[in-house]
Amino acid sequence: MAECHPVGFQWVMEAKARGAKIVHIDPRFTRTSALADLHVPLRAGTDIAFLGGIVHYVLSQEKYFREYVLNYTNAATILTQDYADTEDLDGVFAGLDTEHRVYDYRAWQYEGMEVQAASGERDLAYDDRPGDAGASVRQAARGEAHGSGGADVGTGTPRRDETLTHPRCVFQVLKHHFARYTPELVEQVCGVPADVFGRVCELLTENSGRDRTSALVYSVGWTQHTVGVQYVRTASILQTLLGNIGRPGGGILALRGHASIQGSTDIPTLFDLLPGYIPMPHAHSSEDLESFVQAESVRSGFWANMRAYTVSLLKAWWGEAATAETDFCFDYLPRLTGSHSTYETVLAQLAGDCKGYFLLGENPAVGSANGRMQRLAMANLDWLVVRDFSLIESATWWLDGPEIESGELRTEDIRTEVFFMPAAAHTEKSGSFTNTQRMLQWHHTAVEPAGDARSELWFTYHLGRKIREKLGRGPGSADEMNRPVLDLTWDYPTSGRTAEPDSEAVLAEINGWDADGKPLSAYTQLAGDGSTACGCWIYCGCYADGVNQAARRKPGREQSWVAPEWGWAWPANRRVLYNRASADPDGKPWSERKALIWWDQDTGSWTGHDIPDFVPDRAPSYRPPDDATGVDAISGIDPFIMQADGKAWLFAPAGLTDGPLPTHYEPQDSPFRNLLYGQQRNPVRQVTVFRNKHNRLQPSGDEPGSDVFPYVTTTYRLTEHHTAGGMSRFLPYLSELQPEFFCEVSPQLAAERGLEHLGWATIVSARAAIEARVLVTERIRPLTVQGRTLHQVGLPYHWGSNGCTTGDSANDLTALSLDPNVHIQEVKAFACDIRPGRRPRGPARLELVRQYQARAGITDQTGMGL
């Protein structure tokens, strides 16, 4: 955190000054470790085993917060008899279709009930829809068929066992599932000595409970794995057992890679989502708004109002054209035909299906996994638009990229037309950042952008304007195909020399308005009849009263400790989500020290320091009748109001494609076999689609050839640079602080492989060979894993061939093998070899990789197994 979020780390330092203990778990000793009370190095790619070990400790030592767990989680819920655990099936769950590599989640249901997830994979149940072609969805998109489908949750109430002793209740299933995640196992898998692990368990559990809370903080070191979502799930289980969710000082904090990554999922740049986590509709035949809403809504909780959110979004986009008669232009929305993630787009480029590409502030030639594939795919495009501050590698690969040097590509043969559009920096435009706390903070233009540089808003608006002008003229103008674009409300006011659109007008549209054009103040005002428009339902209220709430900057010392008047947090300016959980079932704070909101019997309403995240007048004693639906079905002790059953899910009966519980699997490329199960890797990881000569995978564990790549490596960032370098390697003041690409190795590995401090090393995977200067440092420590010494190699991934400081790209080494839930690449743990000296030049570089592939016996089948 100190490395990549130094500004945010000030709060950790403040907490430390007030007595907080900081534990840092990371393969490397970083700037964060330097300030932590305890640094725990572990093998990259083993965090589920580590966290699962803590879950085991909490359950076996009875350290969980029983009252919280019993009332606010699904611990007592009884599962269907069909459920079978990884403990029973040697590493896979019930419902695995080994042919198609997907799970049928129906084997994970609550007894007598079927539940859809609040967000994520809500149309997993599409197959259940009678008389529809659900199977094709599954084949097209496999485990991640998005957008629609799914029976509504059945009526009735799930069976519960309040004693938590029923063998099929979630609590007992959880105990069984993690029973073998002992300190001894953690030591064997993660390389963390049992006594050190025990200290972590004690620190965390001692600081959790009625009076105290602990927070977990993570970044892409948890997410960029073939089991990335399950890493975070393990943390969720742990924090839920400890009662650290919905309470001040608790939570799981995702540190984002950029200033507004949270914003880019809320109002998404993702292919499978619409604003506010409404799924993108799938290309199911004859689907209309009503069937989409029916399939996506859940019976109880606030997702039951899905229609209001969707119709209001359609009204915001298509305004006058969106009427009940036109089904609110639902047919104008694009449809998914499968997974269209970044990496499938690369395949489509290689196949010649994707012919044009916009890169807005993104440098895939350096920043995306398997950089070679990224560049070779771009070389197959008709046109490419790059908007960035400088001529990044993704704009110049055709002239001076590594494949030009190796002779694989020749500039004169490349037909891709590349357009470079200079971009304005955040100081040169107005807009909002949404941080990890879901808080919008507005920034104002400080200086006008220089030269031809323009904001993204300018680019998108004027591009749309010109396209609409062209479509609206000429012979094809009446074509119905053009209506979705021509009917858009594309009417933002512009001003100044550059005709910059008014970003506050966009914010006002996101916030929404009623039939009279009056700004809305809360998403509960949204209606499904077309009388309200709202660009993103969770952001409704950010422009309440026509005031830019995100621009508020009242200093913390002039307001309460919750600081509600600094910026604006969705939803409804709540600072802690699900904060009903900060009070006990009777509505009283768990302790004075940790009071956040509480039930006021006199006024019959919830009140407190934060804005209650609950039905304002719902008494703790309220229990819904059996036939209640929607918000009415939330009981007085259901803090997790976006969940169909109002409970935190220790066990996820739906919503995940790769299992209801997290399980330790080895990374795609790993020198170790899975000690826990016969199943080596996540069986439903997204990998076979990436079978490609540029994406060869490595043997793992006991497989022959695995020893050719004996070391574990991980990629990361340095404070001095930013992601793929577009914002830092072109600046002298930052480049001089970290002027060359380097690898970090321990003195022991340096001795083993003859690496010299400040000398050169060549690092090789089945994909590529790169070179780096060597930093020999005690900050990287050898670990003892499965009885042998493991060395890890650290690789910052900022470098490429352009800028003030240049070097090979670490991401050229990485492979395409993705998490099946969110299609993220596994670049935080893989295996490599390292050798002294510089890499070969020209075609000899590829030859070296081929030699390694031959030595390891790598074929197109390697690593592709279930």
Partner: protein, 285 residues
């Protein structure tokens, strides 16, 4: 007013308290924001893209083109000095491993030798008690450079003039804090009236000692030291030498008065001797 001598020459000692830096290295996270903010504000040029291999320190030290410098020290020491409970890194292989970080800067000495030796008056003491080079007055004679007991002030190769931290003199005049202190995310660099900073530093030191960090110490906070105390002082977690700081700096012009006295005495002796010689020779005649 704790340092009348440092501000006396400005003639505004009555109105303006002496301002300074307290750099608490125990909370430095090595982000180098101070280095970058300093360069941005003061237009200090980039000075070389050299990978040094000195941990994450690639700017090496203070110089004409580096006015804030963050040192990184990877250190293994006997286990007795374990800071809190620094984990397996701390318990293995013969002692505690730690990574010290410290942002160094011009000390703005109470007795500033650079200022003493400057023949043009380019170096002067400001109304804030800081020591600043006037770039339009400096003639590049370089006398100040060997005079600095810390090796801070330095000649810029391509223009010959002497450069160093001004404590953002232009910002102070506008009521702003220096760029480095403004950019520091963890309040490792604190700026303010020197006597307040000294008080705060004493409190922080006591807290650390109480927490068992027995090696914590202040550096440059003592008005009785060889430079009369620094306008920019530090809290360190080890000996000054570990950070590349002189353990006992002395203002190089400290002995000038006595040198001059000795010189005068010697001259007088010489004159007396000469006179005596003449007198004697006169008598012989």
């Amino acid at each position: 007013m704790s340092d009348p001598e440092a501000t006396a020459s400005s003639g505004q000692a009555e109105q303006q308290p002496r301002l300074g830096f307290f750099t608490d290295t125990s909370v430095c996270i090595g982000c180098k924001a101070c280095e970058v903010a300093c360069k941005e504000w003061n237009h200090v040029p980039e000075d070389g893209l050299l990978l040094t291999g000195m941990s994450y320190d690639n700017s090496v030290g203070l110089g004409a083109d580096t006015w804030r410098h963050v040192a990184f020290i990877e250190q293994r020491r006997p286990a007795r000095t374990v800071l809190a409970e620094n984990g397996p890194a701390g318990t293995g292989d013969g002692g505690e491993f730690r990574w010290l970080m410290s942002s160094d800067v011009c000390k703005h000495c109470t007795h500033a030798a650079c200022l003493d030796v400057c023949p043009t008056g380019a170096l002067f003491r400001t109304e804030f008690g800081t020591v600043v080079v006037q770039e339009d007055v400096c003639n590049g004679c370089g006398y100040c450079i060997p005079a600095c007991p810390y090796g801070v002030i330095d000649q810029r190769k391509d223009d010959g003039r002497a450069w160093k931290c001004t404590m953002c003199y232009d910002r102070l005049g506008a009521g702003l804090e220096p760029a480095c202190a403004k950019a520091c995310p963890t309040e490792s660099i604190q700026f303010g009236p020197l006597d307040e900073l000294r008080e705060r530093a004493a409190g922080r030191l006591a807290d650390l000692h109480e927490a068992g960090v027995s090696d914590a110490r202040l550096y440059g906070a003592d008005p009785g030291d060889g430079v009369g105390g620094d306008g920019a002082f530090f809290l360190l977690l080890d000996e000054p030498e570990v950070y590349g700081l002189p353990p006992d700096p002395v203002v190089t012009t400290r002995d000038l008065p006595s040198i001059w006295r000795h010189a005068a005495a010697a001259a007088a002796m010489l004159a007396a001797g000469a006179a005596a010689a003449f007198a004697a020779s006169g008598r012989r005649r």
